[in-house]
Symmetry: none
Subunit: 196 residues, 4 copies
DNA sequence: TATGAATGAGGATTCATTCAT
DNA sequence: CATGAATGAATCCTCATTCAT
């Protein structure tokens, strides 16, 4: 039914990011998004099943692009260490360049209901998998610890990056996120304990 | 105005955790919470300013208890490493013992609006500070890396723990969270890179 | 936002008069008005800001029409005395022909809150002004006493007419209001004192 | 059941006038009146049947006092003209001395429901009767027009006085009400028409 | 008499979705 | 394909009144 392509499809998604970033999730009515996208309310329903579908599609397309961009970058370097570094760099870089996206994905969209959050979880699969492949590569190359669950390592890496970005957004993006690339890389790589 | 103590105050908070865990945030009407607490709807408003206030109070009291319990435990051991280990252990332990609390704090309450989320952020201050003190102690004892921002270390540690618990809840708490204490401790302590 | 014209706008106002006259101000729920107007509850809010706005708009349109009708009539005669007589006649006539309007404007709408009553006051401005012009005309023609504040004369005339109609409504409109036109005219014109 | 006398009965009535004058009818909760009267909420119900009963009793006692004061004054003079003058003077004087009473009786209490307004009407009976007696006296003495309905004359006099006071209250009592005694007397006595 | 904590019925308003044009 | 007027279900909160103490 819902035609999930086309100029207006994109326009609606763009409008949704903008409206949600500006007004907050709970104050972003379909009418507001339609007005921002310069279409009629009813038109939304030619491209999306319902309001939730806008959010899920939004998150899905954006996270897909996100993972693609990160992958392109880490494919350009060879060692696990360099790939990890580029992952962190790109993760922060993308959000630093698109504040609205940061606000929406880190804060607002998490206010959605259980079902949406589940679907959103799926959208992260690709990115999670990317990190896991990086970890596997590092372990295989003998550069990362083996014997530790790969999923756990991925969770740790993702948890650190996600929390760091969320904190930055909550602090109104007042500081330069990219300055954290080096120290975060160091912590992920070396942990917090000092070796004598 | 709102009397934030007493038997019914506690009963309402307990009911709120239960109802929200079972029905989800957006399907937890005041009437439902009142019925579960065995009080009249209006009674809720003798103890809370409004519905949001229930959530904020809920998160605040629970997180305060949380931080207190963790602190009691880490005070019993001496070295930074042991304290870190106990922190992780207690963080997981508390949620492992109270699934409803885990669901509500990790998933449901995050669906609340911006203002609530802000107040909720404040409730975490005490716990954040606790972790920072632990980090400062470790640095001072020469056991943790110095030269790295303490807040950043705290963010990393909290981010890992939070993401781990969230993941576990999203996976319907099907596995034993406590089995992750050791490997997570290892990762936080040593990072992911293998030293030759 | 609220589109204050159109078929449904009128239908809602008509319904409001009927419902309020029948049920009393405090027992006239939006749902009741909507049902009487044969529209959905939500439709009300496409035409009115809120419930109060229905009342204010109701009073405003009706009083505007009221003043217009009265003006048309007194414009047809020439002397101040005839104009005054026609004013009294029309004031009573309009209410005598529309009992619901009388009930609503004289009794029910006065139960609304302070803000509404203020707005309602403004709606009477046009009618008040009409009476004042009549008085000024009479003074200028040398037919009415000069040296007395025009506003005061208007207040007196309006006060008499208003009280007379209110009394009639309170007595359940059991007698013929139009029979009072002559004696009221006489009293306003001559006062109560008998000149020897 | 309700004991309609005693120190607290009076205290509650006094509190009601004050609270309603300050907060408006619709924002004068029983709790607020109780607090102002320094009694418990429940105590109110030992002296009054229900909230409406407070208002009715309030209006009744105050209007009874009102009529008594006016009567005392007009009894001191002999001619109908002097009595009429004193009536106007006292009517304005009492409200000029008690602004809260003016606000409550002219504006706020009229927002109450149909039943209360009916009871309130009864409280005015005594005052209405007083005016009618004055009119009858004037007619009998040959000073006022005969042949005109006494009730109508009373209605006219009361309507003028009431409208004048209401207007004054609506204008925030910014001018001196007593300055209107003379011109209003003149208008009531002589009407608006100038005799050649 | 007096208290005040507890009750619970009642209603304005929002907003995702539909469907006639 | 596109429109936007119309729909109506769903819910938080207030406050007059009660009654155990």
């Amino acid at each position: 039914m819902a035609k999930k392509t086309g100029e207006k499809f994109e326009a609606i998604l763009d409008a949704a990011v903008k409206v949600i970033a500006q007004n907050g999730y709970h104050n972003s009515q379909v009418t507001k998004i339609a007005r921002e996208a310069r279409v009629a309310d009813g038109t939304i329903y030619l491209y999306f099943e319902n309001k939730d579908d806008i959010l899920v599609s939004l998150f899905h397309t954006r996270m897909d692009e996100f993972a693609t961009k990160v992958k392109q970058k880490i494919d350009l370097v060879d060692t696990p260490e360099e790939k990890l570094y580029q992952l962190i760099y790109m993760h922060f870089k993308i959000f630093a360049l698109d504040h609205n996206l940061a606000i929406v994905t880190q804060i607002e969209i998490r206010q959605s209901n259980r079902r949406i959050r589940n679907d959103i979880g799926k959208s992260l699969k690709k990115y999670h998998r990317l990190i896991e492949e990086l970890v596997e590569f590092g372990v295989q190359k003998g550069k990362f610890h083996d014997g530790i669950d790969v999923r756990l390592m991925r969770q740790m890496i993702f948890g650190i990056l996600d929390e760091t970005v969320s904190s930055w957004v909550m602090k109104d993006m007042k500081y330069d996120l990219l300055e954290l690339v080096d120290p975060i890389y160091f912590l992920i790589a070396n942990g917090i304990e000092r070796k004598s």
